[in-house]
Symmetry: C2
Subunit: 206 residues, 2 copies
Amino acid sequence: MSSNPLNQGLPPTVARVIDSFSRLPGIGPKTASRLTFFLLRSPDEVSRTLAEALADLKAKTQLCSVCYNITDSDVCSICADQRRDKNLVVVVEEPLDLVAIERTGMYKGRYHVLHGAIRPVEGIGPDNLKIRELVRRVDEEHIDEVIIATNPNTEGEATAFTIQRYLANTGVKVTRLARGLPTGSDLEYVDSLTLTRALQGRSEMN
Amino acid sequence: MSSNPLNQGLPPTVARVIDSFSRLPGIGPKTASRLTFFLLRSPDEVSRTLAEALADLKAKTQLCSVCYNITDSDVCSICADQRRDKNLVVVVEEPLDLVAIERTGMYKGRYHVLHGAIRPVEGIGPDNLKIRELVRRVDEEHIDEVIIATNPNTEGEATAFTIQRYLANTGVKVTRLARGLPTGSDLEYVDSLTLTRALQGRSEMN
């Protein structure tokens, strides 16, 4: 029987799935129960597919030896794609940020995944991120421009400035994503900082 | 590469986990990505434990041969417990309803799990639920009282009345859970039906 009193009356096999789901972020004990009972009611194949996919997840994935994106081969599909511009590198915090940019379909260069942002309170400094690896890439590959696409928050800003400092001696062009009003927003409800950035970054109409 | 454009730039191993999570109720593609990347960042053990628990879920569980609760042996731990009152049976729709009642710590009888409620629109009638099995239990075991604890909604009501009809000839006492104001509620915000039931079911103060 599970040690969790919420799972009283459930067999250990079921309680163990609920417990495992509960360990995931944003999934409380009630959602975990709901998911587990959904799987119990579903065909065997649904839980088996998930189980197999999960078993492979860590075993078969690694970081791309070039850009540190998640990949299941030595070099990720983007770095391996000869049609992509090798002279352009977008720096992101996480692989999901890369996915978001890929989704626009507008970017044809390559990436560099930092795997986090600088968070002094949590003891995460430049050496815990793939910043030295970025500097090495800039030194060794022919890169014209590094586009910093860290998150527009305090940690992302700090990380962006740190990267800029690390790259200062390489002579590479360093740019950042534009800040301003998000599409579909309402001026009345936009926060002051966003509005300030939008004012500062205003562009002439043609 | 996954067929889902949201997973562009991700290796198939990762996309497969995201797809599998997305099939669960209440988990959209964004939550599925977040869960997957959480697992990628976590120690191997977290995803392995979940994978193993899921693999066992359907393989090692069955329905209790007495009450149809989920169990990993022939008879569930509640039915096997000699200290529980065998003359009292609470009828619930789902195993999670049983867990909710167990959590109160106030009930020492046994259960009967219907595995659903009557939903004519979805083609679920009395024969798709464990209602005949309940009638057989009442006939064969010595049961004094059947407490119907189906959900307080249209389907639960219909199911309760159907069970009452099926049990009419057995002579067993059939009761229902009380309806009324939920603890901690605010009269101003309680719906009219709940308030009506609370009025109808009012009890004398001592």
